[in-house]
Amino acid sequence: MANAVPVDTSPEVMLAFYRRLYPFKSIFNWLNHEHAPTRLFTHREFAFTLQGDVYLRYNSFNNADELKKQVCQLNPTRFEIGPVYSARPKDKKTARPGMFNPLKRELVFDIDMTDYDPVRTCCSGADICRRCWAFISAAVQVLHTSIREQFGYENLLWVYSGRRGIHLWISDEEAMGLTDDQRKALVNWMTVIHGGSESSKRLNVRLNGRHLPPSLQTAVEHLATIFSELVLSDQDVFASQEGYEALLEQIPDSEVVSKLRTKWNADPSRSSEDKWLDLKSQAKKYEKGSAQRATLTAAMEDIILHYTYPRIDAEVSKHRNHLLKAPFCVHPKTGRVCVPVDPQRMDEFDPESVPTVGQLLKELDTASKPGGAEGGVHHSDWERTSLKPYVDMLDKHSLRLMEQVRLEKRGKDVSW
């Protein structure tokens, strides 16, 4: 692994990265939805974080070249993308008060590994490994299907955040135009586990206090397998006393709880799988159709949701004017590039194999040596590095989006 190599994200490295590798044109196409610049790009806010944590907000550009020029001049450690405003963000100071409002914005989601700290055993805090990435992978699968099937959105772009999380950008026309209230409603529909210190308390998602809403019922069925593979066997979450006490806390039947506690205290070496089976057999002791059995089955479903359902950072999604780091930026701590991820092949994705900026520049050096004499302007140098498949992924995504917009526009033009 690259652990031994010190991470180099010095200004010189970053500048070379922006000059030669960063796919500005692809980002432009993705944000703009068309070839000719539209308000989706020109009225869009870009915010730069400069060396030394200086934060520059309300920048806007007419086209991809202007953006590139400015980025190379300022050489930020990273930059973020904000909403499309009713006026050009760079003209904010001259706009009439009240005439400068966020209008459109991709619907974004942020899932961060830190929210999973109470339920993962392999790492904590900023660390991440392949094993705990499985939590993110499970979350992505659930969120991806829910958004597509329930809300009908199609243009979803998943982007690795560079360290321990993942971002989702939804670019559908309707999603772009959602108001803050609508975003809040959608997020609450999706949220089951509320973050913060109360994250250990029991879920409250049932209608009439009994059955799960259909959307979550489907999710539970899918997550049950992941739960047994990930939580029970891989992470072995209930092995420690702390782990199984947390589990017991979520069982509403005090008789069952005390029985299990005695049993597990007596034999702490029982694996998580055994403990889960113990709970199951306790439930089966009650007659089928009895109220106690129903309560326990419900509690077990809740527990599955608690350990595997997506933990969304709700504040990010609720407001149009929230800024989110642009794809292909470099994470300053890890040096890794924030690359798009294919949700279908989420399981194969390994955050530690994502190219770092240093590695990419090295690849570029070796690749350009034979040709030697070229020099001069560099265009699309990323094609000669391992960044290529990722940029291709974004381009493919944008192309589909642009095609959709084009067809829709044509439909509109004919209608008169």
Binding site: G152, L186, W189, P214
Partner: protein, 489 residues
């Protein structure tokens, strides 16, 4: 307000004529989506009174929210206010002038649109209050009449046919909320009619997972239909207000209206000046003597007047605007001109007789209507004090620290503790100054049986310093009387 060329005879309206089954009402429905502006002549007076009456109701709704009333309480209070200021009867009430009631409702709404479209904040508050009012009326509406109103307008929802309903039966039943008993719930579900709308139109139902979502469509059961209606009302009004705001600069043709509108849009700031405004008469039958003011101030004055009084005692002087505000307040409280002269003379005890007579007596007599243009000046209302930064409303103009100190030093003897302050300060922070003042009244008069949320009795908020003082004195008197009665027995 509307150009002559745009005005057309009201009865030309096809949509309004087509519904004739209820006699010949111009407004066939009690509920109104306010799709069309009032295109007829109105007098300036009617213009103003319609708006003021409606504003009273909206202000009450707003302060209810700030005072954390429950939906039921809000409904009772609002309905009471409505029956006073803006009655609106069902179509079946044939003996009542339904058309003129509805015309007033219609007109008032549009005048307030003009007044409240001016800033983002005002728009937001207006939409909230109007939507709440609409909900209250919708709730109270007769079922059949509501049905008729709903069918009179295209809400753009798609009925879900039985084939589709049975296709998604499991999911729909799963998200259907009803009786705890499973079979009762299922029965109700079978009878339920479903409508399909884009999910963006029912965010409140989506938020609570009360609907079934499929590819962006929300399947809404008929009993949750109101959500679609309310959302539509809100969105519709928001769009209309923005449109109005954009065309407002072109309203410069009529100089009579702009001051009225300016005045109205301040209404939310302080609630509507109720009957206290304009009444220059003394409200107390007992005469108040100059030497009683000290005691009264301690017991009955709101913080604005109380701090004025304390300043006067401390400095032996008060600046012009302070004298004006406080003087008029005392006048309405019942201090006669003779007593007033005595009071001010004693208060300014460091002045010579000569200076007092020359420089101050005239102003005192002037404010009693005995000099100059001899007008009977009214005492300043909360609304006026709120907009007067000099000797204005302490809740608005004092810094938080100063306000807390002032409140504690003035009212700690009357039951205000520092534990109450956080609640008051948060209301102040939310700029609901009159609500904060009302709360202080409630706390300091809890020994008279004033409960939280009761306002100055009768669920009224404080809108005038004299209202505050008079109510306080009234409560005191009632208690005194009953105490005396007990002694006699």
């Amino acid at each position: 307000m509307f150009k002559g060329t745009e005005r057309k005879p009201f009865h030309d309206d096809k949509d309004l004529v087509q519904v004739t089954n209820h006699g010949s009402l111009r407004y066939p429905h009690r509920l109104n989506f306010y799709d069309r502006p009032p295109l007829y002549d109105v007098t300036v007076e009617e213009f103003e009174t319609c708006a003021l009456d409606r504003l009273r109701i909206l202000a009450e709704i707003e302060s209810s929210a700030a005072r954390n009333r429950t939906w039921e309480e809000l409904k009772t209070v609002t309905n009471a206010q409505c029956s006073n200021y803006l009655p609106l009867h069902a179509t079946s009430a044939r003996t009542v002038e339904r058309d003129s009631e509805r015309r007033k409702d219609h007109l008032g709404h549009f005048v307030l649109r003009l007044a409240f479209c001016r800033s983002e904040d005002l728009r937001r508050r207006f939409i909230k209050a109007e939507t709440t009012l609409f909900k209250i009326r919708y709730d109270a509406d007769d079922n059949a009449e509501r049905e008729m109103f709903l069918s009179s307008r295209d809400f753009d929802w798609m009925p879900v046919d039985s084939a589709e309903k049975s296709k998604y039966r499991k999911e729909l039943l799963g998200s259907y909320q009803g009786a705890r008993n499973e079979s009762v719930r299922e029965q109700a579900f079978e009878a339920e009619k479903y409508y399909k709308v884009k999910w963006t139109r029912v965010p409140d139902l989506v938020e609570k997972r009360k609907v079934f979502l499929k590819a962006g469509w929300a399947y809404v059961p008929a009993k949750e239909q109101s959500s679609i209606v309310f959302q539509e009302f809100e969105v519709h009004l928001a769009k209309a207000l923005e449109l109005t705001a954009r065309s407002l600069p072109r309203l410069d043709e009529d100089t009579r209206l702009v001051p009225i509108l300016d005045n109205l849009s301040q209404g939310f700031l302080a609630g509507v000046p109720s009957q206290w405004a304009g009444s220059g008469e003394a409200i107390n039958s007992d005469d108040i003597k100059a030497e009683m003011v000290d005691d009264l101030a301690k017991k009955h004055f709101p913080i604005c007047m109380r701090s004025m009084h304390d300043n006067l005692r401390r400095d032996h002087h008060l600046k012009h605007l302070g004298r004006l505000h406080y003087g008029l307040f005392l006048k309405v409280l019942g201090l006669s001109i003779e007593e007033a002269v005595v009071f001010w003379r004693k208060s300014f005890d460091r002045l010579t007789d000569d200076k007092f007579n020359k420089e101050y007596k005239y102003n005192i007599r002037h404010s009693y209507g005995l000099e100059g243009k001899r007008a009977n000046y009214a005492a300043k209302s909360c609304q006026q004090l709120l907009t007067s930064s000099d000797h204005g409303c302490p809740y608005r103009y004092y810094s938080p620290e100063n306000l807390q100190t002032a409140l504690l030093s003035a009212y700690s003897s009357r039951g205000l503790t520092s534990a109450d302050l956080s609640e008051i300060m948060s209301t102040v922070k939310a700029t609901h100054y009159h609500v904060a003042c009302t709360r202080v009244f409630e706390i300091t008069h809890s020994s008279f049986g004033i409960k939280k949320g009761a306002g100055t009795g009768d669920d009224e908020s404080v809108t005038h310093p004299n209202q505050y003082a008079a109510k306080s004195m009234e409560l005191y008197k009632v208690q005194q009387n009953s105490a005396e009665a007990m002694v006699v027995e």
